[in-house]
Amino acid sequence: MVNTILIVAVAIILLSIGLTMIRFVKGKTSVDRVIAFDVMSIASIALIGILAYVTQRIIYLDVAIVYGLLGFLAVIIIAKYLEKSL
């Protein structure tokens, strides 16, 4: 029962990543693409969390923490570059 619900949750998260990629391909400005990148990296954190439960390994959560930290830093650097104050 729990595994079935988690499979549905993983499928929904993958669908949401796919829909976000439509915005990445289509988006008019560069800021749209940065937002799409941010949404993809945060959805990946939820995906890795569910994956860590399914395989019963706690070390996968460390990968999620590294994801969150470096995605945040990349978004900050890109925004500073666009604002010309790096």
Binding site: M1, V2, I5, L6, V8, A9, V10, I12, I13, L15, S16, I17, L19, T20, I22, R23, T29, V31, D32, V34, I35, A36, D38, V39, I42, A43, I45, A46, G49, I50, A52, Y53, I58, L61, D62, A64, I65, G68, L69, F72, V75, I76, A79, K80, L82, E83, K84, S85
Partner: protein, 114 residues
Amino acid sequence: MELLGAIITLMGSFVLLVASIGLIRMPDVYNRLQVGTKATTLGTILSLIGLVFLMPGWWGKLILLIFFVMMTNPVSSHVLARASYFIKIPFTDRTVVDKLKVSTKAQKVEYEEK
């Protein structure tokens, strides 16, 4: 208890799906920014809280991750909105008021060329 955690995780992933649909349908950069960070924060936090119910032994790292997402996500939203305002990306036609332009206090700290 485990069924409750799984249902909360499912709700979180559903919120993520709603966020990505809103990212396609919204007309403007600023509206997309709103959708892409607030709804995503809620979805990720719900998913991780569901994992806390599923696996109570891992609460330390999961709470750390929740705290981290809750701290960093509004900051990136704010920085992106500020950058896209100051490189003059146009609003949509239905925008009513621009309070940063009206405010006299914000005029002083307006962005200067470096």
